[in-house]
Symmetry: C3
């Protein structure tokens, strides 16, 4: 895949302004909504089981994030997910902290069984936990440094889960079970601000809504997000994570197709 | 109405520091609380049906926002609203995304029936949906550009709902069913940050608490908020929505009565 | 206590990166998570009764904040608290607005009875309400200026509640029922941003996790937080509360052990 696909897709997202329905955790609602607006998409948040199916019918993508899950929210996610499946829009799953508790693992598996998921995005530990593979550590909802073979993990995960899988970390990888693409953008500051992973999942949702096949749409979103993070880091200088949070929103709004074209770094891993 | 009323009321809000009780959506809690604090009012958030009636008794205004509604929250809103009515404080309704789902429309109508609402604030599409008038489009929780006669809509809405109604957009209008005032301040950046409408409803609540008749208090709040947004946009230059979000909080704190007096633009529409 | 203890403990927190499990209010989730990350700790938020006990087993400290309490959350807090007690990690209680409603007061008392609390942090009015002592006023969730003898109050509270108690205000005081320490850092801007008290409680949690006795760990956290606030205020100049919110996150990340050593002001009150 070439960065020109990402560049083109970014412009398509901005032209089409897809509505992304998020059922997400309490920590990141504001940041996610502002990030989607900054990018040029439209966010909507709705969690009540009385309305999620109807809301998903209006949406162009649905994002399910298990960050501060309750029993009621799991029900809502299934209702929304099945409604989204009926409409044929992409459904994304962000298994936040899935390795931390049995409740999260059961919920994530239930979602994968009862909803047709298009893309799963997590850190290496989360994806490994979903597969019940050992050797990947996490701390609460954050991954420790990955030292295993992430390319093999992402490919295996995509095969097993029968979705596109994105693993983010120092290098981001994405696979549909056949191909593995690696994205070499992004910045360490992203680990210093809460919700940057959650927001990324919603950004991938917006790119998937714009219509490429999910493997390429995901890679395009990763390229865009990584380039935006690099630009944000430049403006942040060394001021701190408060400034970076603000500059990331600025950069999501300012990063152009041409930036993605020229600064994006994508590789294809043979595993 | 002259801008001197708004200028005077702003100073009264700051002197009296009204307590605004918000039952609002998950996306905007932090931004709303910070915006009210910046203005010089006191925010309190409380949603549990076990405490909302008691909390409303302590408050000087109550704001009901249906953004991420649940069945439980509707109950709480009615309890809080009736408690506020007993105390005689203003109650504001923000019908976020009321056109998106049946659940939201039913909840909004229930609130309008069972609680004596002082002011309803929404975009044109939301207000039109409340009245079940056609021809106003929305996208999720955001309005598309209004191309109908907003002045006629706001007046009709105020008559039908028997409240003061505020419709925000490129021009803001407010009516009590007789008069229609239009406010020509504000900035396009407001549409790039989530929760600026929700926060505005709470700001109107603070102004209503300071005691003018709701038509004028609402217009005063719109003038203040619009002028603050213009000042924030100036400081933002073109840096992006992250910077604007921060600068809006700054401007809510710095905008003076004199700024409102000299920069506020208010008209009276004959419809 | 000398500021060198605080300086040393800050470096220990950063080296150990404790996981702080927060069951907190909707308003401050994002700010709390970002503040803990900025400091160098790891935040996790989880509220569902299905998972809180398990999550607390992974954590190094647990923070219970009653800001937007529901009946369900009280249950979760007790489950999490008892799990934390079993593991032997510090448990902190932030009785936000406990004087505002009967529901909050009952919940706070229930938590104090059924969970072994290590540290309680509040403003003077909140702590007085917990003790049902008169003469301390609040406004919603914010304290009015304290004009009583805070040192006597904090000592009495620590004796009665049998926890370490922190009262924050113009001067912060902390007591274990025997000693009373006073911290003379901080900045008025802290009262202009929502959640700065809530975040502080979580920061105290991180310091308690690093292992000093709770009296000293609390004083150390207060010194660090107060010095960080002063540095943030310097960078904020007079721009406003939006800028201060951002600069506080920056300062939590940049404030060094040496800053705390040289700028911290701690006294010992004989009462």
């Amino acid at each position: 895949m070439k960065t020109s696909i990402a560049s083109h897709l970014l412009e398509k997202v901005r032209a089409e302004n897809p509505l992304v329905h998020n059922i997400t955790n309490q920590v990141v609602t504001n940041f996610t909504a502002n990030g989607l607006l900054a990018l040029g998409a439209s966010p909507v948040m709705a969690n009540a089981k009385e309305e999620v199916a109807e809301m998903a019918q209006l949406a162009d993508a649905l994002v399910l994030n298990i960050g501060t899950l309750t029993k009621e929210t799991v029900e809502s996610m299934i209702l929304a997910g099945q409604s989204a499946n009926k409409k044929g829009i992409p459904v994304l799953l962000d298994p936040v902290g899935v390795g931390a508790t049995t409740f999260r693992l059961k919920a994530a598996k239930q979602l994968l069984e009862q909803v047709n998921i298009t893309v799963v995005r997590g850190n290496a530990a989360e994806i490994a936990h979903l597969l019940e593979v050992d050797g990947w550590e996490s701390k609460g909802v954050d991954a420790k440094a990955a030292n295993g073979d992430v390319s093999a993990l992402v490919k295996q995960a995509a095969k097993t889960l029968q979705t596109v899988v994105v693993i983010t970390g120092e290098v981001d990888v994405v696979s549909d079970g056949e191909d593995v693409l690696s994205i070499h953008n992004g910045h360490e500051w992203l680990t210093k601000v809460t919700g940057t992973g959650c927001l990324l999942t919603s950004v991938i949702g917006a790119f998937c809504a714009a219509g490429e096949r999910p493997l390429h749409a995901s890679a395009a979103a990763l390229l865009f997000y990584g380039v935006a993070a690099e630009k944000a880091a430049q403006y942040t200088q060394n001021k701190g994570p408060g400034t970076f949070q603000m500059e990331l929103l600025n950069a999501l709004s300012h990063t152009t197709g041409n930036d993605v074209l020229t600064l994006g770094k994508i590789g294809r891993n043979v595993t």
